[in-house]
Symmetry: C3
Subunit: 159 residues, 3 copies
Amino acid sequence: MTFLTRSIDTRLRSLGLTLPTPPDAVGAYAPVVVRERLGFVSGQFPLRDGRLIHVGRVGSELGEEEGREAARMAALNAVAQIRRHLAGFEGFAGLLRMDGYVASAPGFHAQPGILDAASELLSDMFGPTLGVHARTAFSVDQLPMDAPVELCLSFATSE
Amino acid sequence: MTFLTRSIDTRLRSLGLTLPTPPDAVGAYAPVVVRERLGFVSGQFPLRDGRLIHVGRVGSELGEEEGREAARMAALNAVAQIRRHLAGFEGFAGLLRMDGYVASAPGFHAQPGILDAASELLSDMFGPTLGVHARTAFSVDQLPMDAPVELCLSFATSE
Amino acid sequence: MTFLTRSIDTRLRSLGLTLPTPPDAVGAYAPVVVRERLGFVSGQFPLRDGRLIHVGRVGSELGEEEGREAARMAALNAVAQIRRHLAGFEGFAGLLRMDGYVASAPGFHAQPGILDAASELLSDMFGPTLGVHARTAFSVDQLPMDAPVELCLSFATSE
């Protein structure tokens, strides 16, 4: 266990964050796959205890702060998936990329601000070295389950 | 050739599946690129002999079973692309991720069920070890060529 | 520095191309992340000097040639991001994948032709060996900032 990875659990505690139980896959796939030191997390939604914490589109049914809450919840689920798959953070070598999808009302173009809530939380949790990630923001008309946000993360592993 | 990769051809035969001739790229790119043991298949559509087997959106022009047929056809084309690029399955080290896009009528939120048809076929073809993959489901308003499904696969190679 | 990477700067000059100053990230993420010889460029838009060169959807507000110009500008920005991150092209080991998103009017299905403008420019700049890439084309209703095109590139590095 390195200084960087040990500090992740310390950071989580100091942030007052408890990772949720990661949601099960909703189909014939795996929540996380790692091969050749490269890991992919299946698309994560703002689920808590099996239910979406918000439903609908940002800019109509939902306001921006609800969108940001949804982005944070999806990010927590993604991190919980990584921790469960790696049985901790020891093998975690840093985030690569986050694709963020925001279900948006027509004319709503402030997706980056919604996704910043997730990016900032990931940086807080993993620290600047392991938490830095490339990002792509998307505006979509609707998402599976009528969720407001879906996040796809990839990461590197050390073994 | 390992037990796992040899069994892929055996599995295909036992499933009664014949891989199609993989579609050519429809632009200035390659159907498959492999670098550093990581492979990407360009987006695959439900084409058979150069024509889409279904056209339109699931939930309006198309029913769910037609959507599932389209997902299976796109998955077969993706596997055919991998086999052609690797000249067999000897260098194939397992799927990483499938991004699945379903052209959906407003209010249709059952994309995971459509994409399961592809995920299940991939698991049947590659077996549980090499076939397991992360997945992200997307609902889109339309796809190129008015296709109902587009699949993007990535995979690991052994050399 | 290898023959292939040295020739990139030569190619740019012979094409009469000057790479733009790469746009800053518009949120809490990095424009490029490289880990384990794998690089991701955050989604790039057709920005020049901080402004979109075209705004709106292809097939309604914009014609196809304006869409192709937008695709080329986004590709130039992506290459400029790679060059800045790697401090040149010495460590560049080839493109992997381009995901191209085209904001499209209903009924416009010719996204591949729009994205070919970017793919062809990338092949011209990097040459056939390093420039070949897998590609996925998407049609979306709108993009952040009401941009007509967004491109996501990944690439391999040699160290």
